[in-house]
């Protein structure tokens, strides 16, 4: 039985703050809370446009006090990993004194018994502030510590947000058999019950004939094949990039298959001698050292399975024989 697979999906976003949110987040970093005045009404959080009419606004920013009144609340019994506390807490709509509309934020109390609509609360600034909405939270009025205003820093012009989501699930049945095959030193493909075409890795269906393919379609392919396409990637640096030197990603059509393995890492082979039609033999990591760590239901990397691909020395395959393959 193979273990559940975990996937981490991350997107690092950076967003500019602009003429209204920039001063707001700069002020938060300094230990001050700003709103925006629109036709005599004060909105906090501030907005760049009139919420009633959509008209864009000149930034007429005003400083808010520390206190407000709870207009609604909910007690969060099991915080998510994104929440500002790892213990139960409240989210609340808080109408800051002088504001026209409430702001939604976290409210820390020891027990839900302390919560009520209408209760008075205060802004509690954190000691470490970076110019983000998480630089403060609310506490019952009179229980916080005094704010320390620190001015003179650079304006906050960019907000960074790392989106990070985790997924955990069993390998799906077709994937389970493919992965077990790799541990056993075999490439398992799937044959379409309609067209007879063999794809690897199987998807659990034939996307051309729109038919599901079960275990009865499994078959073992050779562990040698021909290069049908490749690209040389010169890495640029970005969040999560591990590469520094140019490397090849190749498509390899295993003998007996009708779709190539794509994105295969063939580093170790000289880039200037690499070519379409080249015949390659898989060299497996020894049984017991094979690692399924980069194989889940979403993507496949053979890096932990295949140590390298060796040229077989056979004559090259005829590139014209690959004309029906796009990759």
């Amino acid at each position: 039985m193979l273990p559940d697979v975990e996937t981490l999906l991350e997107y690092p976003y950076t967003r500019t703050t602009g003429p209204v949110l920039g001063p707001f987040f700069t002020a938060l970093r300094d230990g001050r809370l700003l709103g925006i005045r629109i036709d005599g009404r004060v909105y906090c959080p501030p907005v760049e446009y009139d919420p009633e009419t959509g008209t864009s606004l000149e930034p007429d920013l005003v400083e808010m006090g520390s206190d407000g009144t709870v207009k609604s609340w909910t007690w969060v019994t099991q915080p998510t990993s994104q929440h500002p506390f790892d213990h139960p807490f409240a989210f609340a709509l808080v109408l800051l004194d002088g504001a026209y509309r409430p702001i939604v934020h976290a409210l820390e109390v020891a027990s839900p018994d302390e919560l009520s609509t209408g209760m008075r609360v205060s802004v509690q600034f954190h000691e470490d502030r970076r110019g983000a909405i998480t630089d403060f939270h609310f506490v019952p009025a009179g229980t916080g510590t005094a704010r320390q205003v620190v001015t003179g820093g650079e304006p906050v012009t960019v907000i960074e947000q790392l989106i990070s989501l985790r997924y955990r699930e069993p390998l799906q049945p077709h994937r389970r058999r493919f992965a077990q095959g790799l541990l056993d030193g075999r490439f398992i493909g799937q044959r379409s019950p309609i067209s007879g075409k063999v794809s690897i890795p199987g998807r659990g269906y034939d996307l051309l004939e729109r038919v599901e393919v079960g275990e009865e379609g499994d078959l073992v392919l050779a562990d040698r094949g021909s290069v049908t396409a490749f690209t040389v990637i010169t890495p640029i640096q970005y969040y999560g990039q591990k590469e520094t030197e140019p490397y090849i990603r190749a498509s390899i059509l295993l003998d007996g298959g009708d779709t190539p393995l794509t994105g295969v890492d063939v580093r170790g082979l000289p880039i200037d001698e690499f070519r379409i039609g080249l015949r390659l033999q898989a060299v497996w990591w020894p049984a017991g050292q094979r690692d399924l760590g980069e194989i889940d239901n979403r993507s496949v990397s053979l890096d932990g399975i295949i140590e390298r691909w060796n040229p077989t020395g056979e004559p090259d395959a005829d590139p014209d024989s690959f004309e029906e393959f796009a990759l």
């Binding site: 909910t74 989210f91 609509t117 989106i163």
Partner: protein
């Protein structure tokens, strides 16, 4: 903008076939298979070849699926050959229906296949959907749909527009209706008293007040004009469809009311005739009270006979399922006229109202 644009159109468009997978807690296979089952079912029911479908559009969510460009992978379920003329919305399939309806108004194509699919089981729904909130003020706090729904439910209690018993009664009714729906996920019944004895998850909401997320898919086939009657004796005509949005700041809204539903319903013509059935996208029990009131539904309207999302919430297909449930009741002659509601965003921020009718 002319408020009547969404119903005073030249082209009649109808739903002629619908399909749904069952809603299940965890589907042991790829999301494209869920799509494929619905697509094949639609084609089998109508006898159409895939090449006879002019336009396809799907609604799904990559954060839900856990894969960049998961929506492209879902096209596998529609079939890679012949090439499709297609579109996608990162929204519930109900919004794909809206785009398909608009696309058919252009007049150069006559058939559109609409799909909604989701496989949330491997992920964390609250964390994924916290990301649809404002990225400056809300998402960094992890403000998730359930917590925000708790704020909305509390506002109803504070204004004495509802009680916690009302919330539980919505759940009891939804589960009773879901018991006779073979596609529903929750069939277990409980009394109001039993439900109210349960602990809160985001007070005043309890676990059963939150629709249980499910893996699943749905599809409908839209056909314009007389061709619809060739494919179905009694098509479900889309008489009006309208989408309205409120502020993404929950504090800037009156959470006890839904002006966007009222506006959408007015522009879709919901009140132009009796509403026999209404399928409402109630993903938190208290929302049913707001949606009913905002749509002006009376005693003559049967609400969520399928059980609604509280009996199983196939994320990103749920709204389209509402349309399919109304359409199937019109097509089989059970009812003449119905309303399907879909929502998106926190606390019913966005709402889509469709009005469907059968021939007299």
């Amino acid at each position: 903008m002319n408020g009547d644009t969404t119903r005073s159109t030249g082209r009649d468009v109808a739903i002629v076939t619908v399909s749904q997978t069952p809603s299940v807690a965890a589907f042991d296979g790829p999301e494209p298979v869920l799509v494929m089952r619905c697509v094949n079912d639609i084609l089998n029911q109508t006898g159409l070849e895939r090449s006879e479908v002019d336009f396809t559009i799907a609604g799904s969510c990559d954060y839900n699926s856990g894969l960049p460009f998961a929506f492209v992978m879902n096209l596998d379920g529609i079939g890679a050959w012949p090439p499709v003329y297609e579109s996608h919305v990162e929204m519930d399939g109900a919004w794909a229906l809206f785009e398909a309806w608009l696309r058919l108004q252009v007049g150069d194509v006559d058939t559109a296949l609409v799909i909604g699919s989701g496989r949330p089981s491997p992920g964390n729904h609250r964390e994924a959907f916290a990301l649809q909130t404002d990225p400056y003020f809300m998402a960094p706090l992890g403000l998730d749909p359930t917590s925000l729904a708790g704020l909305q439910a509390r506002a109803l209690l504070d204004r004495e527009l509802a009680t916690e018993r009302d919330f539980a009664e919505v759940v009891v009714r939804s589960r009773q209706a879901g018991a006779s729906n073979p596609k529903a996920m929750v069939t277990e019944q409980a009394s109001v008293e039993e439900l109210m004895a349960q602990p809160y998850v985001a007070s005043p909401l309890r676990a059963h007040d939150v629709a249980p997320t499910a893996d699943g898919a749905a599809a409908v086939l839209l056909v314009a004009g007389d061709r619809a009657r060739e494919l179905r004796e009694r098509p479900a005509w889309i008489r009006g469809i309208d989408h309205r949005i409120e502020s993404h700041h929950p504090g800037f809204r009156d959470l006890t009311d839904s002006p966007s539903i009222r506006t959408a319903a007015a522009h879709a013509g919901a009140a132009d005739g009796p509403i026999d059935v209404a399928e409402l996208m109630v993903v938190h029990s208290h929302e049913e009270l707001i949606v009913r009131r905002s749509l002006g539904l009376g005693e003559q309207t049967v609400v969520n006979p399928s059980g609604g999302p509280l009996a199983g919430d196939p994320v990103m297909a749920t709204g389209l399922v509402r349309v399919a449930e109304v359409a199937s009741r019109i097509m089989d002659g059970t009812v003449r006229r119905g309303v399907a509601h879909a929502s998106s965003g926190a606390c019913l921020q966005q709402n889509l109202v469709s009005v469907l009718e059968g021939d007299d």
